[in-house]
């Protein structure tokens, strides 16, 4: 099964980081065409009024794209993007309108001010999430225009600021002014940038950090950092749009940045279809144009209009306009045919001849001493000792609630010990942050596999490869590369439960970690799948020299596979040794088979 030929060394591994091979999604193409048309058509027809309307629409679309990134890619509920937009716009006005500094200086200052506010939002986002963050940001969006009035010596208060930049409005190319070209370019670049971000490791990490922070930690990075980056990126885009607002309108007043504006951006994303690339464009266009065209004379009805639209969309088409359309198309295309992951490339891969993973040759992979952990009155770990020798499969068995998962959580830093110590590859890990522990070379699976429905199966796998810090893993990467083609068109909903477990295991292998912690990986696997799973684990141990800690209820599998076994009951170690020894231990027999001579 394991062939030793070197044939595939010459075959280049298909790069997972698409340099030069980045392709725009269909939605992006439609978006780009829409943006160009929205500016070119009014410009050619010579209608200043419509050009103005559509240029403003483009600025709003930029903010909505950033809001979309923040909401769906990073999972952050921010109702304050209007405030970022407003602060950027106002700073330009204060610098270049009131104080007569050159425009470029004003633009730079506006950009800096907007980004600063966006980063301020990231600060509470490190501590809180969901509706808490929503309230903090909506409060900020409410306070911002009030502050514009409060500091009227600086902002000119309700009188507003006039900012006329004549050269930017002069017709230059095909009836378009430099400002029109700039705004169009900004919108297109923002859209493409969002598309591109999603194909990068950072984009995938944002989504993981949003959906499952503990997975992010066990893959070795901190969700808070990723969230802050998302706020930064969104603030940059929003501020770029904000600084152009003043030059476009020629006038700034505090009323323009009322918190309604922030809610408008949020609704635009929802109505268009949160998560879809094209969503914010469509949502913004509908919410902005419909009231401005149909309800020109009925200004008061505008608010009602988009309140009702948002409510109805949420109730009738929770995926939004574009989301619903895409779902329809996708359902028609793939009537959810079951798919499976082909393990052969991994089972047949060419393993490195010499041991490249000798780094942790003799050190025990895991050494737990006197570990204690209590939840309220429940003692989950009661003075547990555990030593896992490197390059072995170590079985961890015991009844439900015996502390197996708690032990795994402690090993990965998701739970902390009350007493005792944990060493991973000789490094004391008690107080290391979870992400830091993962970087020592640990990967784990969860009882309920952390599979991300919005990512393709290949992207789910890529999360592991993204975290791979060992450039020497060429063979492994090559083997994974063979999976790319079949899996990049495949969605997790097509996978059976057992296949999802396998996917999570493969992701862990992909990280290049030396120690795998598997939490009930064989649950729900068929007999044949079990055999293949056992083959894979032996291969990992013998050829890749990995260490595996296996928490499992299927005892016969553990007896067959494990080199050493530790039996836990009620948080304490009952027995340890190889399969034969443990099986004969009376305490263990009592635990699993009841009293024989009863």
């Amino acid at each position: 099964m394991v062939t030793g030929t070197q044939a595939s060394t010459s075959r280049p591994y298909p790069q997972s980081k698409p340099r030069g091979s980045f392709k725009l999604a269909g939605e992006t193409w439609i978006g780009v065409i829409f943006i160009i048309a929205s500016i070119l058509i009014p410009a050619l027809s010579g209608s200043d009024y419509w050009l103005h309307i559509f240029l403003l629409l483009n600025l709003y679309m930029v903010v909505s794209i950033c809001q979309n990134l923040l909401l769906t890619d990073a999972g952050q509920v921010s109702f304050g993007q209007g405030a970022v937009f407003g602060v950027a716009a106002y700073t330009v006005g204060i610098f270049s309108g009131l104080h007569g500094f050159p425009l470029w200086l004003g633009l730079l200052a506006g950009l800096a001010a907007g980004i600063a506010l966006g980063l301020l939002f990231a600060l509470p986002a490190l501590r809180v999430k969901g509706f808490y963050l929503g309230f903090v940001t909506i409060a900020a969006a409410t306070v911002m225009p009030e502050m514009l009035n409060a500091f009227s010596d600086i902002t000119n208060g309700i009188n507003g600021i006039s900012l006329r930049v004549r050269w930017m409005h002069e017709s230059w190319l095909l009836g378009m002014s430099p400002l029109a070209l700039l705004i169009g370019a900004l919108t297109i670049v923002t859209l493409i940038a969002h598309n591109y971000l999603r194909t990068t490791a950072l984009g995938r990490r944002m989504r993981v950090a949003a959906l499952s922070p503990e997975t992010a930690l066990t893959l070795g990075y901190r969700p808070g950092v990723v969230r802050s980056i998302a706020f930064l990126v969104a603030a940059i885009g929003t501020s770029l749009a904000g600084v152009l607002y003043g030059p476009l309108l020629g006038f700034l007043s505090p009323d323009a940045f009322h918190f309604d504006l922030s809610i408008f951006f949020f609704f635009a994303v929802i109505v268009g279809g949160s998560g879809r690339l094209l969503g914010p464009l469509v949502g913004t266009a509908i919410l902005y144009l419909v009231p401005n065209v149909l309800l020109v004379d009925l200004v008061e009805y505008r608010l009602l209009g988009y309140g009702v639209t948002a409510l109805l969309i949420m109730l009738l088409f929770p995926d939004g306009i574009i989301g619903t359309i895409v779902k329809q198309i996708r359902q028609r295309k793939t009537a959810i045919r079951p798919a499976s992951i082909d393990l052969r490339p991994l089972l047949e891969m060419n393993f490195p001849k010499k041991d490249q993973r000798a780094a942790h040759a003799d050190e025990p992979a895991v050494a737990v001493k006197d570990a204690r952990r209590q939840f309220g009155q429940v003692v989950a770990l009661n003075n547990v000792d555990l030593v896992v020798k490197p390059r072995t499969i170590h079985g961890l068995v015991g009844p439900n609630g015996s502390g197996k998962t708690t032990l795994l959580n402690v090993l990965t830093g998701l739970n902390r010990l009350d007493g005792g110590s944990v060493y991973v590859f000789g490094v004391k890990a008690n107080h290391l942050p979870a992400a830091g522990i993962a970087q020592l070379g640990i990967a784990r699976t969860f009882q309920t596999p952390r599979i991300f429905e919005d990512l393709t199966v290949w992207e789910n796998l890529q999360l592991g490869l993204d975290a791979n810090r060992q450039p020497s893993d060429e063979m492994l990467l090559a083997a994974f590369g063979k999976l790319r083609q079949p899996l990049s068109e495949c969605w997790p909903e097509q996978l059976s439960h057992a296949q999802r477990r396998m996917l999570e295991l493969l992701r862990c292998i992909g990280t290049g970690s030396d120690l795998l912690l598997l939490d009930e990986p064989a649950a729900g696997l068929s007999g044949e799948e079990r055999t293949r799973f056992a083959t894979l684990l032996r291969l990992l141990r013998d050829e890749l020299h990995l260490t595996v800690v296996l928490v499992e209820h299927d005892l016969s599998l553990v007896w067959r596979l494990a080199d050493e076994i530790t039996v836990l009951d009620a948080g304490a170690v009952v027995a340890r040794g190889n399969a034969a020894e443990v099986k004969e231990n009376p305490a263990v027999q009592k635990l699993f088979w009841g009293e024989r001579d009863a």
Binding site: V77, F79, L123, P124, R127, V128, G130, F131, Y132, G134, F135, V136, I138, A139, A140, T142, V143, E146, M147, N149, A150, E214, H258, F259, D260, I263, F266, F267, I270, E300, Y301, L303, L304, Y306, G307, V308, A310, L311, M314, L315, P318, D319, F375, G376, T405, N409, L414, N415, F446
Partner: protein
């Protein structure tokens, strides 16, 4: 010295309104995990009700009858809102759909007030004479609000611990799935909790109407300050809300006196951020233990 007592008494009075909003937040949150963004709008609707129906020289009896009617109207309105909010949760496609639906309802209420009443400030005529204490004259509503807040908390405590429905509701807040498995009709109780929340916030809006700013854009201030009060006390804790409200009220009243009315929300925001950064579970909140 007068200034000190004015800030203190009126701060506590308006703070009690924030407490009532916080308590009404808690009722819905306990049973469904939802925080209703439109809670301040419901409060203002109670005030709108008072401004429309309360006659100039109403007798105490009329006042109490209308208080009940107003509270009941808001209870029905919030039950409807609750039904709408909980609808998309059936399929659980979108966990955070309630963020959007409650926000949308708040926008709609603001828009409807704007369309029917215009952008003007509505006035509620208080039938009770102003009180004189500590050398300052205080409109009666500043005293009614704290009384109502304490009454509401005591009544809720009795309801949650002594009635069968109340106990079932407490069960929801402890463990939704277990409650479901025990045969509790979750959806009905959740809608009922919306209605009770409407009862509290409607009564608050009606009785404190004369000291509220009733305009189409003012509700957001009460949503925010009510939320800050709830966070200070610990979300879900009514006793905490009773402390948190007056704290926010006095501080923002002090800011209004010494710096100007436009600083009130800024002070509340600062308070909110400080609490969330250093004690996110609030003064009386519990820390949740388990993550994975």
């Amino acid at each position: 010295m007068d200034e000190f007592f004015i800030i203190l008494i009126r701060g506590i009075g308006i703070g009690a309104v924030y407490s009532l909003v916080a308590v009404s937040f808690n009722i819905v949150y306990q049973s469904s995990g939802i925080l209703n963004f439109a809670q301040g709008h419901m409060l203002i609707l109670g005030g709108v009700f008072a401004s429309i129906f309360l006659p100039q020289h109403a007798s105490v009896l009329t006042w109490f009858v209308l208080l009940g009617a107003g509270a009941l109207c808001l209870a029905i309105l919030m039950a409807i809102q609750g039904y709408i909010t909980l609808l998309p949760l059936k399929s659980s496609v979108e966990q955070h759909s309630w963020l959007i639906t409650t926000l949308a309802v708040s926008v709609i209420i603001s828009a409807l007030i704007l369309i029917t009443k215009g952008p003007f400030t509505l006035v509620v005529r208080d039938p009770f004479p102003p009180l004189r204490a500590f050398g300052v004259v205080t409109p009666a509503a500043y005293v009614i609000a704290p009384v109502l807040a304490i009454t509401a908390c005591l009544a809720l405590r009795w309801f949650h611990s002594r009635t069968l429905i109340g106990l079932a509701m407490s069960a929801l807040s402890q463990d939704l799935d277990a409650a479901k498995a025990a045969g509790i009709r979750v959806r009905r109780l959740q809608i009922l909790s919306f209605a009770i929340s409407g009862l509290v916030v409607g009564a608050a809006g009606f009785s404190a109407g004369s000291i509220l700013t009733i305009t189409p854009t003012s509700p957001i201030n009460y949503v925010l300050n009510g939320f800050v009060a709830a966070v200070i006390g610990g979300i879900g804790s009514n006793a905490g809300a009773l402390v948190g409200g007056p704290l926010v009220g006095v501080l923002s009243m002090w800011a209004a006196y010494n710096a100007g009315g436009e600083y009130q929300n800024a002070v509340s925001l600062a308070l909110l951020v400080i609490i969330l950064m250093f004690r996110p579970q609030g003064l009386f909140g519990r820390v949740s233990a388990r993550q994975v």
